[in-house]
Subunit: 349 residues, 4 copies
């Protein structure tokens, strides 16, 4: 069953939503072979028992991380909780490349990590080695990385439209408001009261107002692009839907610039990109049009207020916001075409 | 059946969602007697045929506006489309008081109306007479009004938290961003493609970005409060839910002011109000906690950016954003206790 | 604050959905005074912390059952898990009347209880005393009861349409299929994986096929009506909605009988009932038309197969299927008008 | 762009949900080339204007049927309304093979068609030629067909589990109850009041009780399998979800047979089938586990009533219930592997 030319893959934390989404792509990826799946609580079960939609697929059973035979693994996707992740990754053999979907290696500054996540970082050396996996922006570094820190869903939706604009100084770095709306899978598969159907259905609310842990991650990327420290206003909202993430971003134009200039700059920055699309004037993206696919689609509008613009970006939080981008990074780390195994059409409706 | 001391009420356009919601309140209102219901397309049908949840209630059948016996009507709620509304209202006898839920009389400036609604206003004299029905703010004028223009849902959610802050100059009038999320009943009951379940369910999108007709209505109220022209950034979003409207509002503090000052000012402004509530520090409202009730609940947060704050307000778009506030205005216009017939508890979940 | 003529009420297990729903009705009930609320895990918190939609109401804080001052309680609603319930109720002073919303006292046969719930009944004497609280059917006994076992949601939706038909032998007792669809609040507020939004949204499935614990409860009621042992086919389904329960019931007509005969019999049986309604020919009920109200609405149809009929009944699982019926029983036990505090109109949409 | 070895395809009625779903599969199908798309109302527009999720794909624009160059079409998928369909298909050149997703050619008996659809069939000769496209059952005929009548969604979910059981006389043909629950896309993309979000969300109802047009189609298939006339009880329900269809089927076992016998017979009948799966004892399917994929999954249970069983089948109404099965038929008609272009994994959640 093993093909020498295939990448042998372990998915750690395979029983959650990002794990399941990785399996959806990997099972049909021409260059991937899944050799190990782990899930501490469900270890010993077959994968289809926990993910019934995969019950008809040929998959390894669920094991504990400690049971994985790493000699049969070339690359690991890590879908574990933050904190736990750094310990697990620190223990992996050096030949295993890693795409980490947790937050543990996203913040270059371990002090910022400690402040946001309430615990000292226990693998600062690994943190130095980690490359931030926003593929379109850090492609060259990702190609050479052993450890890629896959971006958070909110940061992906905010950085892709904003980074080119900040790099070209088309907008004011000091005045950015990001209002984001996410489907509930962003909160994971853990049985938390706030994720119950009856606490999410038929309603909307903001959470983590001005305190969400993705904010420093957003700041980090925007600051690098602006060449100065950026602090963004950022409010996430929980939506009554499974998937999808929309960010509405309010910006101040640099002197003399127009919304059309922003659109033009984004079109130029992402020309030829398979997974980032800029809409023509007047069109606004919808999360339902990117359901299940590795796309970030952005619309650009002149604001009613003079000298300002509004950007609206849509992703599927589990795909371009997590597992799809992780596969994109795997492809890039492995010298494969970046789009391999990701060429899907959105499931609409 | 008629009680001389009761207000005899007509609901024009009774077959839509705001009409149905008025009937929910009026049927249990101690001082209301429903004497006429109209629905042009469904005229001749019994009301329960169009609104089956009311089939067991004692209600007049649906008639055309032209068929109403106005001698039996003291007060009319008008739930007709804009444009049509001004003609109908212009034709009503003077003894009939009116709460208009359309947009036709909300904008004091008929030129602004023409610009926003794409048609010349045909009843400018009536417009002069109309009072804007944001009850907590214009209570005194409403008491004496014959014609009350009931506010739009978005403007209600934006103005209630912002007006006291602008009046007291606690925030900068020139830098206000309002990001709003509304349930789909805000679009009415007309069979439009964009309101189909499969075009709304499991997704979110912005619409009318920088062009929505509620924006000039918001500006009008904020300008009056600030004593200068205010233009707000405003983006509405369509949510996969029936009811509820959340506005996340980003403001710049006046020099030396804090988020706590804003909360204090709102608590003071709305102390003793039955239908406007300010949450303590750290709490954020959810639309599901105001489902079906005439409440606007607001949370106040310090922003991550220095010198800025974030306000989050929640209403039920059909209640405080439409029919509930209309009843509140009727009560006020009729010398009744403002809370009469509105003392409900939210339907959660 | 205490009024001697009011019923002083404790709600045990007040932090869940049936508890919250009881509070919605009790807070506006003219003859009710809430003197104690319990919630073991949340004891010590104010009620609004756990049920934020009640934060603006005047309510006691949450205590443990052991802390309740029973001298200030006339009647207790018990919303505790089965098993726990019988111990708690066995420990209550005799002056306290009880409406129990758990399953512990619904099955007259303690052996049937043991089989369905996997544990020996520990209060068989109390079980003998308990009256089954399907109000329209057992009204006379309920009036005199100290302990009323409030029916399950599925059994309510199935028994109300079927009992009159079985009593009058209009249908064959041996051939009854009940296919039920319930909103997710029926599973309670506990953080279980199967109740997560992402495990319920955008999908439907059957559960407990042929093994659900409500089946013996249904059989018990149908058997009593038929005067012989009835075993019904029964399949519950979990729906992507908060509230509502629809039962589609397939029956075989007694020789010579028609669907019209069934409708006529139901109309006669429930003539004058405030909370049970039979639809005219051709109409089918929808759960959204009974949202939030204490109604059971039934439609009756001739089947395509000769000699058979289909009944469709709709309730709100939290109201007529739980807390609304519980209040109805309280009213009856207290000599109050049965509809007191329950005269609401459905929240549509 | 044209490859001589590819099947050149027209999709008639491409702007609706089944059309869009065909495009999702066809755009990634190795042997398909889309040469024409029609949509009468939207003719002249680019396809991405009506189906924004396809805006980044290379697709012909929308034309009218009358404008199609049939010399460039080998096979047409027909997603037009019934009635219209037979006229359009009658007008197509003979070299064009057709998979018709409408109801116009499903019923072999044109009198039955007239009774169900309220109009005389105007292409009875074509009807004689048409093959019913339930692929697993009529594979041999489909291979040779020019015109395949793709089954309805409800009939697919009912026939796949029942036909093998009737053929082998394991169940009583005279006592079959089919209770089905469908997502709202089954009603199409037309702007009808009953398909509005607010009329479907947060609720469930039965419709077309004992009168739905899919019932004669179900009877036709079951009768052929049983070798006698079968009339099934059938009730469809509208669910608050986009996609998915669950049928709960209540059957009487033939003398001496068990639920295990049914499961065994289904396993044997569908052994080796890629798109029909039978679950092991105790497992029940969920529509969310077949979202977006061409699968019918069935669970089999002993009923509580002796001598009876319950089958639960799940499909995606737009895939195995419409467009996926249509591609499966195209593959079979074209001598391609049946699974080509259909090998997807469900989008969960």
């Amino acid at each position: 069953m093993s093909s020498p030319e295939k990448i042998r893959i372990a998915v750690l934390g395979a029983s959650g939503y990002t794990g399941a989404e990785l399996l959806r792509f990997l099972l049909r990826h021409p260059a991937a072979e899944i050799t190990a799946l782990t899930a501490e609580k469900n270890a010993g079960q077959k994968t289809g028992a926990v993910l019934p939609h995969l019950d008809f697929e040929d998959l390894p059973g669920l094991a504990r991380v400690a049971e994985v035979d790493w000699s049969r693994v070339d690359l690991a996707f890590c879908c574990l909780p933050h904190g736990v992740t750094q310990d697990v990754i620190a223990g992996l053999p050096r030949h295993v490349r890693i795409v980490d979907l947790s937050a543990d290696f996203r913040l270059a500054d371990v002090e910022a990590y400690a402040a946001a996540y309430g615990q000292k970082h226990r693998a600062p050396a690994l943190q130095k080695e980690a490359v931030y996996g926003l593929t379109e922006i850090y492609r060259a570094q990702i190609e050479k990385a052993r450890l890629v820190a896959n971006p958070g869903c909110y940061p992906t939706s905010a950085q892709l439209p904003l980074i080119p604009l900040l790099r070209e100084k088309l907008i004011e770095a000091a005045d950015i408001v990001i209002d984001s709306k996410s489907g509930v899978t962003g909160a994971g598969r853990e049985a938390k009261p706030g994720s119950l159907y009856a606490e999410v259905g038929e309603g909307v609310h903001a959470y983590g107002v001005a305190t969400h842990r993705h904010a420093p991650e957003i700041d980090q990327g925007l600051s690098a692009a602006a060449g100065r420290t950026v602090t963004a206003s950022f409010t996430p909202h929980l939506m009554p839907m499974n998937r999808g993430l929309l960010s509405t971003i309010y910006v101040k134009l640099a002197a003399g610039k127009t919304a059309g200039d922003l659109r033009g700059a984004l079109e130029a920055a992402y020309a030829g990109e398979a997974f980032v699309k800029i809409l023509p004037e007047g069109l606004s993206p919808a999360t339902r049009h990117v359901r299940g696919v590795n796309l970030c689609v952005t619309g650009v509008f002149a604001d009613r207020r003079a000298g300002r613009a509004i950007l609206v970006s849509a992703i599927d939080n589990l795909v371009k916001g997590a597992s799809g981008q992780a596969i994109q990074n795997m492809n890039r780390m492995s010298g494969l075409p970046e789009t391999m195994g990701l060429d899907y059409i959105a499931l609409f409706p």
